[in-house]
């Protein structure tokens, strides 16, 4: 009995001491330099590649920090001279995503952006970095916003197989371009000169231009990739942080392919199957007559 009492007394004393020391630690005056916050460690997964944020530190300091800044907030020392501004990673808002608007991009989306660079900006093509280095940098980017710890990336949108290009699909795409009022910003000929074009600003209040499809001879100026699938993705998921909205709720998957086919014909100098089909049809896009019920009845019946 005496022994158990001793042990009890000892435990009680220990508990009291622990409580006091905890309270003292809580009340300790806030002096001296703070120890650095424990680093957030993130991973990225791109195919078989696994990136680790802690392995990207040297590369980030060497290649990225000048523009994107030490805190990843886009306020590097070069930022004041740049237009468009470097991405602010702390907001976790990204332009090029395969995922729905408002959701986080996949690791692969970020990986592709680093490898592709951003046309018309100071973000170069980082093909000098190895795949592993890029994967590590993706993991590093994910340490700058707490969203990456709380949320999963969005699911990539499903893209059905591309149907063949026909003059009908181009005509339907043109009708969608008109009906969905893409021309309000991009202009009737896709020259980026629509009635709202001059007023556009991005989410940081910086002026921004709608894409001019007609300029240039090739695809190199598309920011988020230049395949037909990439173009499909751009307008379905939207370009977050810019005026370009998502159309995923309003365009049916096959209609979206028709729109892609029409957008290709706005690239008037581009050699591609869409312009070939258009040329074969005499170079003129016929009027589209909707056979489904959602179109208003044509008083004169059309053709």
């Amino acid at each position: 009995m005496r022994d158990t009492n001793k042990i009890r007394f000892f435990l009680a004393t220990l508990g009291f001491a622990a409580a006091v020391s905890f309270a003292v630690a809580q009340d300790a005056p806030d002096v001296g330099p703070h120890p650095p916050a424990p680093p957030v460690l993130m991973e990225s997964h791109i195919g078989h590649l696994v990136g680790h944020s802690q392995d990207a530190k040297t590369d980030y300091r060497r290649y990225c920090v000048g523009c994107h800044g030490e805190l990843g907030d886009g306020n590097g020392e070069n930022a004041v001279w740049l237009d468009p501004k470097p991405r602010n990673f702390t907001l976790a808002t990204f332009k090029c995503r395969s995922t729905l608007t408002g959701t986080l991009p996949t690791d692969e989306d970020l990986y592709n952006s680093i490898g592709r660079g951003f046309t018309n900006s100071n973000m170069p093509i980082w093909n000098t970095l190895s795949n592993q280095q890029r994967a590590d940098l993706v993991a590093m980017i994910k340490t700058f916003s707490p969203r990456w710890q709380k949320e999963k990336a969005g699911d990539p949108i499903k893209i059905p197989a591309e149907p063949p290009v026909t003059i009908e699909s181009i005509a339907h795409g043109k009708a969608l371009f008109t009906k969905l009022e893409c021309w309000k910003c991009h202009g009737p000929q896709g020259k980026g000169d629509g009635p709202s074009a001059a007023t556009l600003t991005d989410s940081q209040d910086q002026p921004i231009r709608p894409y001019n499809f007609a300029a240039g001879k090739d695809d190199s100026r598309f920011k988020c990739g230049s395949t037909n699938q990439d173009i499909y993705k751009i307008f379905m998921t939207g370009v977050d942080g810019t005026p370009m909205p998502s159309f995923a709720d309003t365009i049916q998957p096959n209609d979206a392919w028709d729109l892609v086919h029409f957008l290709r014909t706005l690239q008037v100098h581009r050699h591609g199957k869409e312009n070939d089909v258009l040329k074969a049809a005499g170079g003129k896009i016929p009027d589209y007559h909707d056979k489904s019920s959602d179109a208003p009845a044509q008083p004169n019946g059309g053709n």
Binding site: K179, E181, T199, G238, P245, D249, T250
Partner: protein, 232 residues
């Protein structure tokens, strides 16, 4: 007979909530200084909207009434009231005549938000959230409402990029005790149980004031706010 007592209590509670939650905070929001001059909006680029307005619509950055009343101020309990759950019914944000109705829309975190397009033109709804997730969706005419909810309290600026004059606010709060002042600047926060409250008044884009109020019972406490406005 004993069993009838709870029934009466329940009936009393249902019929006269004022007896249970007597406290009310009410008052008026005014301004000093010179409010920024609002400008007529040129909607000529969107004829389907322009024709809905006999006189040009004015911008709504500052809306005032007689006797220096300040409208579109959200007055809410920022501390003291328990973080009530979101109401089941949705709040609605309407696009009509290329204008947002209402200009300032408060809601509870997690409450359903319906965005409705009553116009004959496409709009894009672009809430420029920073704490919550920014998104940007197109809404052509005749399409169903866009439904969303916000997880975190935030004052979210809302824009339509196609019609740059369209400008509004989602005010996401952790309370159901809120009011938006009208042209007379007055507000009422009813049904407050006894307690100590912090009342905040917010005016776009980022002006905020707070006051402390203690409610002891069935009473109405008067509380006024005054915002200093600058002409630019």
């Amino acid at each position: 007979m004993r069993s009838s007592k709870p029934c009466i209590a329940v009936l009393t509670a249902l019929l006269s909530p004022a007896l249970m939650f007597g406290g009310t905070i009410s008052g008026k929001v005014t301004y000093t200084g010179t409010p920024a001059k609002q400008k007529p909006i040129d909607m000529s680029k969107e004829p389907s909207c322009a024709k809905q307005h006999a006189t040009p619509v004015m911008t709504e950055g500052v809306v005032t009434g007689a006797n220096n009343a300040l409208a579109n101020v959200v007055v809410y309990i920022s501390a003291g009231a328990d973080d009530a759950n979101a109401p089941a019914q949705a709040v609605t944000f309407t696009q009509k005549g290329c204008q947002y109705g209402p200009h300032v829309l408060p809601m509870h975190t997690g409450q359903e938000l319906d965005v409705v397009n009553d116009d004959q033109t496409s709009h894009n709804i672009h809430p420029l959230a920073k704490v919550n997730r920014e998104w940007n969706k197109s809404q052509p005419p005749g399409t169903p409402p866009i439904k969303d909810k916000w997880d975190q309290p935030e004052f979210i600026e809302v824009k339509c990029n196609i019609h740059p004059w369209m400008h509004g606010w989602f005010v996401v709060l952790k309370t159901n005790h809120y009011a938006v002042t009208g042209d007379n600047g007055s507000f009422t926060l009813p049904n407050l149980p006894p307690g100590k409250y912090t009342v905040t008044a917010w005016h776009e884009p980022d002006a905020k004031q707070t006051q402390e109020v203690t409610i002891t019972g069935n009473e109405t406490k008067s509380l006024d706010f005054s915002f200093a406005l600058k002409p630019y």
